[in-house]
């Protein structure tokens, strides 16, 4: 089932790229579409951050992941490169689990 979902999602992502190159321009240049689509990643990434940091198995929880996110936030504010932000988050979680 993971493979089916993976291939479907990859096909959808590719289809979106191809549609942009193929569909009549005025359809996607509609100001409402131009305004709405860039808001989607903002909302989805924020929702992913919130749910994956503060929930586990459908319940709200507070654990080492909150600390990992806070450290990653500091790295982002310091304009660290992407890899450094991710490793800082992972290392924080790993160290806190070792400590407690």
């Amino acid at each position: 089932m993971t493979w089916a979902a993976l291939l479907a999602a990859a096909a959808a992502c590719y289809g979106m790229k191809l549609a942009g190159l193929s569909l009549p321009q005025r359809l996607l240049q509609d100001p409402r579409v131009q305004r709405t689509v860039p808001l989607l990643p903002v909302a989805l990434l924020a929702a992913l951050i919130a749910t994956q940091t503060f929930s586990s198995g459908g319940r709200l929880v507070l654990d080492v992941r909150a600390a990992a996110l806070a450290v990653a936030g500091v790295a982002v504010i310091l304009r660290a490169p992407f890899l450094v932000v991710v490793v800082a988050g992972a290392a924080t979680a790993a160290l806190l689990r070792l400590a407690f």
Partner: protein, 234 residues
């Protein structure tokens, strides 16, 4: 040469050598971040082959991280697929901006489409001359595609070799990756407010609906907001 021209020449190197140099620089940076994708994806429980298939076939970072992240959080594969597809919508708008520059048709369009991502779009639209735009698009696309897939493979293999990948904490790292992807999009007040509202709606709805559904609720609300009340384009 007037001063302003000198300035723009330095900011946007207008020779093919300059473009290749920039493309390689971006390729190396994204290759490094592909290593973290490989690590997160394998820690989430996806196989090495599945992880590499995501980079080869999906080839758009935010969607790939979302897919692995939702799987890591024990969401269903279809919830992961929905999140990835919704995050991929922005590439359609990038493609629209690129259509007049690339002027591709037939089988070449099928190939060019896969290269339509944030970085290639930024590199292509930064040039004034259409020929250089096209060159920048393909040079950047080729550099990123090669190094992104190499980095993914390296990260996946290295993580797979560990007896317990969770010991490195990469299972807790997807939110850090999402934050690094989100931060550059928060330049003005509107996206900031939308991000906060989206996080709140997702957390409030989470205990009451199946995994993955909070994301769909958030997506539905933001589309409604954008179509009805969004601020006018600048």
């Amino acid at each position: 040469m007037p001063f302003s021209d000198m300035n723009s020449a330095r900011l946007v190197p207008n020779g093919r050598n300059g473009i290749v140099r920039d493309a390689l620089g971006i390729g190396i940076a994204t290759g490094a971040y592909a290593i973290s994708f490989g690590a997160i994806s394998v820690t989430a429980g996806l196989s090495i082959v599945q992880t590499c298939a995501l980079s080869l076939l999906m080839f758009t970072g935010a969607s790939q991280f979302a897919f692995a992240g939702v799987i890591a959080a024990a969401g269903s594969p279809w919830a992961a697929a929905a999140a990835a597809a919704l995050l991929g919508t922005r590439n359609a708008l990038y493609a629209v901006r690129l259509t007049s520059l690339l002027k591709v048709s037939g089988p070449r369009r099928l190939l060019a489409a896969q290269f339509v991502i944030d970085e290639t779009t930024a590199m292509a639209i930064a040039r004034d001359d259409p020929a250089q735009s096209r060159f920048a698009f393909y040079a950047t696309g080729l550099a990123i595609f090669s190094l992104w897939n190499l980095g993914t493979l390296a990260g996946a293999i290295a993580t797979h070799a560990l007896p317990d990948p969770k010991v490195l904490g990469f299972d807790a790292a997807p939110p850090a990756a999402f934050l690094a992807l989100l931060a550059p999009r928060l330049r003005t007040r509107e996206p900031m407010a939308i991000a906060l509202a989206a996080a709140l709606v997702a957390l409030v709805s989470l205990p009451f609906v199946p995994a993955g559904v909070p994301l769909l609720i958030v997506a539905g609300l933001v589309v409604l907001y954008g179509l009805r009340w969004g601020s006018r384009p600048r």
